[in-house]
Every structure is written in structure tokens, then in C-alpha cells.
């Protein structure tokens, strides 16, 4: 009987060849500048972390010195150095090959030590020191895990998910609560550690059990376990215990003829251990009054069976009060934590970081129908890259409930029809994007080659997402757009639209004064409508006369509101360059300023499509100010402020905005938020609830989406909302109707 244990552990011997299956330079990227190594060596997987700098082309705009007749501003692509964290996960079998590769490619880093954690750290200590010539500095495993967990929860939206085996999408990603603490972290390695994390760290403690067995997924635990029905013949109704519950784990193995397989025993063992851990975790959670419990460790890692049984067990024991949460980057926590410890002098926690979709592998499919060999292969090297963002990101202070805010209107992981549509849509648009990218760098011959690499990369991402929609958290239009931006950046196409934007801005500027003049000639009421139409029209190229009522139409309420007292301060998230910003938004801003409302214009920090960037908007506003005394006065008196959003996306995540923006918003007592355009007001934030008045406007430029929303192509959405509890200003008869 004792052989059972032996056979189980030896059955997982590696049959695959030990050569690296992917070109290593695509795995250990940016090694030349790498520094601050950390390594987490577990029972079977090694996770390597390093910090590196990446040189990127970025588009910079610069205003010409006075009276430039040629064009509005100058665009130049400059090299910029940004910081990036690399995490690579591979099987222990490759460790020597990998160390050799690193040694050969490492260019004088000045690094002397490598932080190490994990059970295997001491085993490979000598090897690492010999190969890399770095001193191995051991870090406490639990501390690293906690540190890493805090880091991913803070920096990666959709890090945590709930596992639902039988649902349409196995993974349901959770919005991370703005305050990530307190939580319970259950790490199931060879023992079980249960840690309550309150602020920076800690309490409690360990012990239980053993390794998990692959066999389990094939076994029938009911032949080994004594179920309630084996004792009762059915269910135990008065206690609500159903017949298929396990009454006694392994209870049958004492009496039954030894007619059960290894698979059955493995399954029984798995159930026993999962249930037990789930139960203990629940008791701890209850004891410390915690509702968030994250599970990690190699027992969980990628095993749908264990995620399922743990989830089942938690649901059973807490009747839904506690949710079992898993982490997308669970395997990296130790390495991240060890790295952060070593990088303390760089203050990594002072920055915000963002997952780079272009460089990260994403969550692998765990669905059993996938060829296991293929899984093993693709799982050989897994990468996570995190970009250091220039600015620290925080919540918009005006969110009604930050913990329930979900930026995205549609979750494509759960909506198969929408997913199919958008994936195809992005695939079809790819040619155009490639063309535009090449066109943006006409003088660089190798741009074509790079654009092809971009095409391959993004197409591959789309294919991956078709198979594994959950790879980077919830699949959304936003994530598809952002992934495209990341891939463009990866191949040094920082701003394919720069020239187009420049041309359009230039043109629109010429009409600014004329537009303002014609608006001024209108009556007050006519002007308000014209201004709204201007914002809407600027958003679309072929805007026809759209008869009201619009698809979503609260214009009357808005007009009514305008007859009331002016807003204190309006925060305006702007969208496109050209007509939109110059002939739509600016006159609208001008009107607000004239009413006595301060205005904060929030634009993208970095380029995305033809969206106006903060750099461009600075120049544009100066130009307009030169023509328009209202804007000029606004700038001068600090009543018109330009801020960057912190984002480089065509969409908008109000939970990750520039810290300065949040500060300004708070200081100015902002009481109106205006969001315009499809990306920001439809694909995202359509359902966002704010604690102040808000205006969301867009023209639906996609017939599929228009149909979904019950309208036609170019339907108009004009959504004015007053938060519940705040009296609408309609009734307050305004004494000062502006003329």
C-alpha cells in the first residue's frame, strides 16, 4: 500500500526536452540594462524578476517661436527612457540554461546581489552565485508573498477573480476595492500559511498538508469517501446535508474491498485537503471579520480542480458570506516581493505601475480540452512586464462608490456575441492601423518591417484573446484598444496619428474665431443648443442634422439646469483633436467660463488614436487664447486649467487618474463632470455613477453598437445625470439668466 505515494510523485517526470523552446531574447528582454535581480525558486517553477530601462520613441510636440506660418506646432519623435519590471516564470529544469543566458547578455549592471526567496533558494544558491557572480541574499518567503500581493492588488486592475467552473466564463474578475486592506492570504504550498494582512503586513500562521496530484482530475472520490448517502441512504434533511456530501473522507477505504484506483484516492485526497483548507480559511476569516480571502500557492496554481474545490468549500462553509478569490499573477507574488525588497531605494511603491499587455503572457487557459502538451509548452515561459508610469494614479474623488465602480460598459468575457463582434472588428481594422503606422514615419525605411512585427504581435494577441478571453482580466473594448496601443509602442510607433492630428488642429484653428462669432449672434437658448451640437458634431466626421429626440436625450433637463445658478467648477474629459476640441469643446468651455464656472480640461498624458494629448492641448489653448480674450482671461486668472488624465488610452478608467488631477478636482470643488466621445462615455463610464452632476455625450459611430443600444448609426447619446439625493436645480428660479 505504501507504494501509492511513491508512484504519484514520480509520474510527473518531465518528458519534454530541456532546450528552451522560445527564442530566449524574446523572453529575457531588455537584459542589457537590467539591474536589481530577484529570484523565487519554488518546488517546480522558478520566477525571475529584474528591473530594466526601455528606450522608446515618444512623440513630442513643441510650439514654434512666434508667428509660425507653416504649421501650428512641431512634432518630433524623441527617445525616452522608461522603467520596466520584467518577471519571467519557467520550470526549474531550465534554471541553468537561463542563468547562462543571463550571464552572457548582462552588460555591466553594477548589481552585486540577487534577492532570493522560495523553498528552492538555498538549493540553487551555489549555482546562482557561481553562474551570475552575484551574492544570493535570502528573503523571508511569507513577507515576499504579502509584499507582492499588495503590489499586484494596487497596480493591476482585475487582478483578482472568482472561479466559476460551470459558468460561461470561468473567471469573473473583480474590481479591486480602493482600500485593499484588510484581507486574508491563504498560501497553499507544502504547508498552508494563513496570513491576515491589515496594513503593511501580517499576523498569522500555518500548517497543514501536502502536495496535490494530477491524477485527481480523473478519479471518483465517491468510491473512497464515505458520503452522507452511504450512511443515510439519502440526504440528512433536518441538517440540510445533501446525500453527496462527504461524511467521512477515506471512510470507505477501511472496509471496502480494495477495489479503487489511484485516481480515486487522489481525488479523495484532493477533496479532503481542499475542503479542509477552505474550512480553516473560513473560520479564520470569520474570526477576524474579513470578507476578502485570496488563495495562492502551488496547490492552486493553474489547477482548475483545486480552484473549483476550494471555491465550493468556501461557498459551502460560509453560505456565500466569504468569496474565494484567486489572483491572476499569483505565481509571481514571491518574486515581486523579493524584488521590491531589493529595490527599496528606488521607492517602487511610490509609483504607479501598469501591466504591459504587449510583453505579458496573460493567464493561460486551464480548460481541460486544451491539449495538455501544448499547455505545458506554452506554459514553459511565462512573462509579466510592468511599466512604471510617470504619474501616480488614484481614484477620481467624485466617484459615488469607488468600490463598485466598473469602467467598462460591456464585459466581453461574459458576452460571447459582443466578443466575437469586437474581436473581428479589431482584426479587420488591423490593416488600416498598420498602414497608418507606416505613414506616420515616412522617412524611416525600417518602419515597414516594424509595422509587420506589430501586425503579427497584435494579431497573435487577438488570437490568444479569442481562445482565452480572460488572459488579461476582463476582456473589454478598452482592453483591446489598450493592447493595441501597447503593441504599437512596443514597435516604436508612439503616435501614428501625430501628423493627421496636426493637420486637423491647424485647420480647425482657422475657423475658431468665425465659429465663436456666429455663436455669439444667437439667442441664449439657441446658443446653448448650438454648443451642445458643436460638442457632438466635433466628435464625428459626417454629422448630419440629427433630429431630436436623440437616442438618449436629456437635453431639456440640461437646458433647464443652465437657467439655474452656474456650476462652481466643471471637469471636462476631452476626446479628439481638430474640430472636436477646437470648434466643439472650446466654445463650450468659453460659455462655461462666461457663466462663472471654472473649467478643468483633462486630456491624455500620452497619445492614443487621434485623441488630443495634454502636450498638444497646451499649445492649442495658447493659440486660442491669443485670439479669444475669454479664454485668455480664464488662463490668466487660473479659472481655466489644463491637467493630464494620466492615461494613454482612448478610453477612460476613472479609478486610475493622475494624482494632480484628483487634487485639482478636490480643491476646486468640482460639481460637474463632462465626458465626451465613444471611448470615454460609451465603451466606458456609460453607467458610471458620480457624486456630482455629470454630462455624457457621444455619437455612436458603430452600427453594431448603435443597434445594441436600440438606435441607428450616428445616434446621439446626451445623458445628463444628477446624483440621487441632490435636488435637481430645475425648480430654483434663477434670477440671473445670462443673455
Amino acid at each position: 500500500m505504501a507504494e501509492c505515494g511513491r508512484a504519484d510523485s514520480s509520474s510527473t517526470t518531465h518528458t519534454m526536452d530541456k532546450s528552451i523552446t522560445l527564442p530566449p531574447d524574446e523572453i529575457f528582454r531588455n537584459l542589457e540594462n537590467a539591474k536589481r535581480f530577484a529570484i523565487d525558486i519554488g518546488g517546480s517553477l522558478t520566477k525571475l524578476a529584474y528591473y530594466s530601462t526601455v528606450q522608446h520613441k515618444v512623440a513630442k510636440v513643441r510650439s514654434f517661436e512666434q508667428n509660425a506660418e507653416v504649421s501650428l506646432y512641431e512634432i518630433s519623435e524623441q527617445e525616452e527612457v522608461t522603467a520596466r519590471l520584467h518577471f519571467i516564470k519557467f520550470e526549474n529544469a531550465y534554471i541553468e540554461t537561463c542563468l547562462d543566458f543571463i550571464r552572457d547578455h548582462l552588460v555591466n549592471t553594477g548589481t552585486k546581489v540577487i534577492k532570493a526567496t522560495g523553498g528552492g533558494a538555498h538549493k540553487f544558491k551555489e549555482l546562482i552565485e557561481r553562474k551570475l557572480g552575484l551574492k544570493v541574499d535570502k528573503e523571508d518567503e511569507m513577507t515576499c508573498l504579502i509584499r507582492g500581493c499588495n503590489f499586484v492588488l494596487r497596480n493591476i486592475p482585475h487582478e483578482a477573480f472568482v472561479y466559476a467552473k460551470h459558468a460561461d466564463s470561468e473567471f469573473r474578475f473583480q474590481t479591486t476595492h480602493p482600500d485593499i486592506f484588510p484581507y486574508l492570504l491563504v498560501n497553499i504550498g507544502s504547508g498552508v500559511s494563513i496570513v491576515k494582512v491589515t496594513t503593511k503586513r501580517r499576523i498569522f500562521r500555518t500548517t497543514r498538508f501536502d502536495e496535490l496530484l494530477q491524477l485527481a482530475s480523473k478519479g471518483q472520490h465517491a468510491s473512497v469517501d464515505m458520503l452522507v448517502r452511504d450512511i443515510y441512504g439519502g440526504s440528512y434533511g433536518s441538517l440540510g446535508l445533501t446525500g453527496d456530501l462527504i461524511a467521512s473522507s477515506f471512510g470507505k477505504s477501511a472496509t471496502a474491498d480494495k477495489g479503487f484506483s489511484k485516481e480515486d484516492m487522489a481525488k479523495s485526497l484532493l477533496h479532503m485537503i481542499s475542503n479542509d483548507i477552505g474550512q480553516l480559511a473560513c473560520l479564520y476569516a470569520k474570526l477576524h471579520n474579513l470578507s476578502r480571502v485570496y488563495f495562492g500557492g502551488f496547490f492552486i496554481r493553474g489547477h482548475p480542480v483545486t480552484m473549483h474545490t476550494i471555491t465550493y468549500s468556501i461557498n459551502f462553509f460560509t453560505k456565500g458570506e466569504v468569496q474565494a478569490l484567486f489572483l491572476r499573477h499569483e505565481g509571481y507574488l514571491g518574486a515581486i516581493g523579493a524584488f521590491l525588497k531589493g529595490a527599496e531605494e528606488d521607492n517602487p511603491n511610490q509609483y504607479s505601475w501598469g501591466e504591459n499587455y504587449a510583453g505579458s503572457s496573460g493567464l493561460m487557459s486551464v480548460s481541460p480540452e486544451m491539449n495538455p502538451m501544448q499547455r505545458a509548452r506554452s506554459g514553459t515561459f511565462d512573462m509579466l512586464e510592468m511599466d512604471r508610469l510617470e504619474r501616480q494614479l488614484v481614484n477620481l474623488p467624485l466617484l459615488q462608490d469607488p468600490s463598485s465602480y466598473i469602467p467598462d460598459t460591456m464585459d466581453l468575457t461574459e458576452d460571447a456575441l459582443a466578443r466575437e463582434y469586437w474581436l473581428s472588428c479589431f482584426e479587420e481594422a488591423l490593416d488600416g492601423v498598420v498602414k497608418r503606422a507606416v505613414a506616420s514615419q515616412p522617412d524611416i525605411p525600417e518602419a515597414i518591417e516594424r509595422s509587420e512585427k506589430f501586425r503579427q504581435k497584435y494579431r497573435h494577441k487577438l488570437q490568444t484573446l479569442r481562445q482565452q478571453p480572460f488572459a488579461y482580466g476582463s476582456l473589454t473594448v478598452r482592453s483591446l484598444l489598450d493592447t493595441r496601443e501597447h503593441c504599437l509602442n512596443e514597435f516604436n510607433f508612439p503616435d501614428p496619428y501625430s501628423k493627421i492630428k496636426q493637420r486637423e488642429n491647424d485647420m480647425a484653428l482657422r475657423y475658431y474665431q468665425k465659429a465663436v462669432k456666429s455663436l455669439e449672434q444667437l439667442s441664449w437658448e439657441q446658443r446653448q443648443f448650438a454648443l451642445v451640437r458643436g460638442v457632438l458634431a466635433g466628435n464625428v466626421f459626417d454629422w448630419g442634422a440629427k433630429a431630436r429626440p436623440w437616442l438618449v436625450d436629456s437635453y431639456d433637463q440640461w437646458l433647464q439646469r443652465l437657467k439655474g445658478p452656474p456650476h462652481k467648477c466643471a471637469l471636462f474629459f476631452v476626446d479628439n483633436s481638430g474640430v472636436d476640441i477646437i470648434l466643439g469643446v472650446m466654445p463650450f468651455v468659453r460659455e462655461l467660463l462666461s457663466r462663472g464656472t471654472e473649467v478643468v480640461l483633462a486630456s491624455n498624458s500620452g497619445p492614443a488614436l487621434n485623441d488630443v494629448t495634454n502636450g498638444e492641448l497646451q499649445i492649442l489653448t495658447e493659440r486660442i487664447a491669443a485670439m479669444d480674450p475669454v479664454i485668455q482671461a480664464g488662463l490668466r486668472d487660473d479659472r481655466l486649467t489644463l491637467v493630464q488624465s494620466g492615461s494613454s488610452s482612448p478610453c477612460l478608467d476613472l479609478s486610475r487618474l493622475d494624482k494632480v488631477l484628483a487634487m485639482v478636482v478636490r480643491e476646486r470643488q468640482t460639481d460637474l463632470v463632462i465626458i465626451e466621445g465613444m471611448g470615454r462615455a460609451l465603451h466606458t463610464n456609460y453607467y458610471a455613477r458620480l457624486s456630482c452632476e455629470s454630462l455624457k455625450t457621444a455619437v455612436i459611430k458603430n452600427s453594431w453598437l448603435a443597434e445594441r443600444l436600440g438606435g441607428k448609426l450616428f445616434s446621439v447619446v446626451f445623458k445628463y445625470e444628477v446624483p440621487p439625493g441632490k435636488p435637481s436645480q430645475e425648480d430654483s428660479s434663477a434670477p440671473s439668466t445670462p443673455s
Binding site: 500500500m1 505504501a2 501509492c4 505515494g5 511513491r6 510523485s9 523553498g119 523571508d140 511569507m142 513577507t143 507544502s190 504547508g191 500559511s193 501580517r202 499576523i203 498569522f204 500562521r205 500555518t206 500548517t207 497543514r208 498538508f209 501536502d210 502536495e211 473512497v224 469517501d225 464515505m226 452522507v228 452511504d230 450512511i231 443515510y232 441512504g233 439519502g234 440528512y236 433536518s238 441538517l239 456530501l245 462527504i246 461524511a247 467521512s248 473522507s249 477515506f250 471512510g251 470507505k252 477505504s253 477501511a254 472496509t255 484516492m265 479532503m272 475542503n275 479542509d276 474550512q279 480553516l280 473560520l283 479564520y284 470569520k286 474570526l287 462553509f317
Partner: protein, 398 residues
């Protein structure tokens, strides 16, 4: 109730002999007493527990009226200590000169494996048990599972009772009548020290609230606030059945006694990975002693270790793993429910001092002396006693 209806039918068209028995039966009822024999049965997942009340105050008249098969049942049960291959009477637990329902007698405690249930039912049929028209009060899952077999094979109707109701009622009763003048309840003094750890009798005076941990094949944990007010807090499938099942798989043993015998000789630290095996000493940052188990069976991942351990070590490790797990669940339940008295019962604890001391130690250590683990002499029999009491109760109120 169903079983009474059968009696009523008999009244209409019974034979003279049947009518005679019926008279006795109705007389008994008049005297608020069910007819003999008095049994209480608890059919668990692994063991059947049977309590039998042997009246010792039988009058000459009664003796004469007593039908032959009733007499033979009494003789069979009271003159043997073993029944068939697997049935055992726990003589040392017998409660002597007990007064129940106005009758004086001895309460016998008998157990046999649930696997032998078909043979037991067969015996009931051979002995024509149904002719006695006694009510067979049964609790435990088997009362449900075997109900049809009792009916079809032996023409017997079971009065099915809830096992947790019975457990609590039986426990409180036995504690009340005491163990032949001695306390039923005990605890371990100095559980932390194997040398000076001793069993001490105590009373369960003012027993509520208590956390009742019943360790049979599986485990149920109840918070008991009064005889009729309790809730099942939780349970775990890692119980006595798991210990025995795993032991059979790991060591090839076949009985609980064998498994415990091995466990008592083994050393679990050869099998379990301790904190000091990983840290070389204590894991101070999280306050873990080096001697704490970091990974149960954790050494068994290595071939060398597997080759160097004995079956006894495996048995011990299994026992310690299961016991510690129950201990930590029970402890957290006690804290969550704010109950300081934790009573452990169930047949897992039979002849199992290792587990009892471990539980006593675990309660004491993790609660820093706040919690006390209590044990009872009739550890696994309370359900059966509770079933018997139900028999005596149901007949009292017609």
C-alpha cells in the same frame, strides 16, 4: 404514528396469542412503560451502537408471562461479551442498578460494525423479534438507510430519530445518573507535559453552553445552549473514518485497534515536516516553534525518507494529522461561538489516549489556557442512549 397503527389493526383481527401480547402491551402503556425488551440503537457510518436495558427487578409473575424469545434475547445479550465475530459488549461501561421508567436494571453497551447490519437484521428475523411488538428506536444515518431492510427482511418498523437530538439527550442523561457513582466526565491535567499529564474526573455541572465535538466516521460540531436548544456549527469529513481509512491504505492494517496500536508505537516527526526542518529552528517572525508541524506528511515527498520510515510512524502521523485538524477547527469554533467548554465525544476517542491528550493540549495551548477540553467515559454511546430514552418518553405520552 405508523407503528401504533399496526397495533390497532391487530386489535381487530388478532389471534388469541396476539391478543394476549397486546394486553401486556396496553398494560405497559397504562403503567407508562413500553414493553420489554428496551433497546436504543445508533447506526453510524462505521459502527452500530446498541444499548440494552436488562431489568433485574422481574417479578415471578412477569417471569412466567415472559415469552420465550424475549427471555432468550436477554440471556444471549447478558451472558456473552462477544457476539459473532465482530460484536462486542463493553462490560466496563455497564451502568448498574439504574432506574429507568420505574424499573431497575443494568444498561449494557454493545457495538458491532455497520457492515454486519444485514446479519443483525437476519438475526432479528430468526429470533422473530417482530412478535415482541417492541418499538425499535434507531438513530444515526443507518436508521434511514436500513429502514427498508428492517421492514422487508424482519417485519420491523423503526422509529427513526435525529442523531444530534439523541446525542445531546443521551449525554446529559448519562452525566446526570453518573457512572456507577463516579463522574462520567474527565479532563487532562498538565496536557502540555507528557510526563505529568494525568486524567482527572470532573463534573459537568451547569453544562451550558458547551461546544460538543462528536468524532465518529466524520465530525459534527454543535453549540449546545440547553437540552433542546443547539445548533450544528460545522463539521468536517476528516474524522475517525478518515484515520482508519488512510491507515488501512498506508499500513495495510485492518482494524481500529490495530491502527491505534501501531500509532502508539510510531513517531510522526519522521513523516511530518516540522518548522525546524525548514527553518533550522523557530520561525520567529510568525511566532512558530520549531517543533510545530509545517507540513503533515511533508517528508513523504522524498524517496529517502519514504524508505526510512515504519508503518507505525505512518499510523502515528495519520492520527496526529487528523486529530490536530479537528483540534484547530474545534478551537476556532469555540472562539467564534464564544464558548469555553469543549466536550469531545465519539468512538474515535475509544482507547485513543494519544488523540485525547493532543486535543487537550491543542485547546490549552492555542487558547492560552482559556479553553478546556472535556471527555466522557461512554464516548460513543450517547446517541444510542438518547434513542432508548426516546422509547421511554414516547410511550409515556400516548
Amino acid at each position: 404514528m405508523h407503528y401504533l397503527h399496526r397495533g390497532d389493526d391487530a386489535e381487530c383481527n388478532g389471534s388469541p396469542a396476539k391478543r394476549c401480547r397486546l394486553r401486556r402491551r396496553t398494560e405497559s402503556v397504562r403503567r407508562s412503560r413500553p414493553p420489554f425488551p428496551w433497546f436504543g440503537m445508533d447506526i453510524g457510518g462505521t459502527l452500530v451502537k446498541l444499548v440494552y436495558f436488562e431489568p433485574v427487578d422481574i417479578t415471578a409473575e412477569e417471569e412466567q408471562e415472559e415469552v420465550e424469545n424475549l427471555k432468550s434475547i436477554r440471556r444471549y445479550l447478558t451472558s456473552n461479551v462477544a457476539y459473532g465475530k465482530t460484536g462486542v459488549r463493553d462490560v466496563h461501561l455497564e451502568l448498574r442498578n439504574l432506574t429507568m421508567c420505574g424499573r431497575t436494571g443494568n444498561l449494557h453497551f454493545i457495538r458491532f460494525p455497520t457492515q454486519a447490519m444485514p446479519r443483525f437484521i437476519q438475526m432479528g428475523r430468526d429470533k422473530n423479534f417482530s412478535s415482541l411488538h417492541t418499538t425499535l428506536c434507531a438513530t444515526g444515518g443507518g436508521a434511514y438507510k436500513f429502514e427498508n431492510d428492517f421492514r422487508s427482511m424482519a417485519d420491523l418498523e423503526l422509529l427513526k430519530l435525529d442523531e444530534l437530538d439523541c446525542l445531546i439527550r443521551g449525554l446529559l442523561y448519562v452525566d446526570r445518573v453518573s457512572f456507577n457513582g463516579h463522574p462520567e466526565c474527565y479532563y487532562f491535567q498538565n496536557p502540555a507535559d507528557t510526563e505529568s499529564c494525568v486524567k482527572k474526573p470532573c463534573t459537568l455541572e451547569d453544562p451550558f453552553p458547551m461546544l460538543l465535538v462528536n468524532i465518529g466516521s466524520g465530525v459534527s460540531i454543535l453549540a449546545v445552549y440547553s437540552e433542546n436548544d443547539y445548533k450544528r456549527v460545522t463539521g468536517t469529513s476528516l474524522g475517525g473514518g478518515t484515520f482508519l481509512g488512510l491507515c488501512c491504505l498506508l499500513t495495510g492494517c485492518e482494524t481500529f485497534e490495530e491502527a491505534l496500536e501501531m500509532a502508539s508505537k510510531g513517531d510522526s516527526t519522521n513523516v511530518d515536516k516540522l518548522v525546524k526542518d525548514i527553518y533550522g529552528g523557530d520561525y520567529e517572525r510568525f511566532g512558530l516553534q520549531g517543533s510545530a508541524v509545517a507540513s503533515s506528511f511533508g517528508h513523504m515527498m522524498s524517496q529517502d525518507k519514504r524508505d526510512s520510515i515504519s508503518k507505525e510512524d505512518l499510523a502515528r502521523a495519520t492520527l496526529v494529522t487528523i486529530t490536530n485538524n479537528i483540534g484547530s477547527i474545534a478551537r476556532m469554533c469555540a472562539v467564534n461561538e464564544k464558548i469555553e467548554r469543549v466536550v469531545f465525544v465519539g468512538n474515535f476517542l475509544r482507547i485513543n489516549t494519544v488523540s485525547m491528550k493532543l486535543l487537550a493540549y491543542a485547546m490549552d495551548f492555542w487558547s492560552k489556557g482559556q479553553l478546556r477540553a472535556l471527555f466522557l467515559e461512554h464516548e460513543g454511546y450517547f446517541g444510542a442512549v438518547g434513542a432508548l430514552m426516546e422509547l421511554l418518553k414516547t410511550t409515556e405520552d400516548p
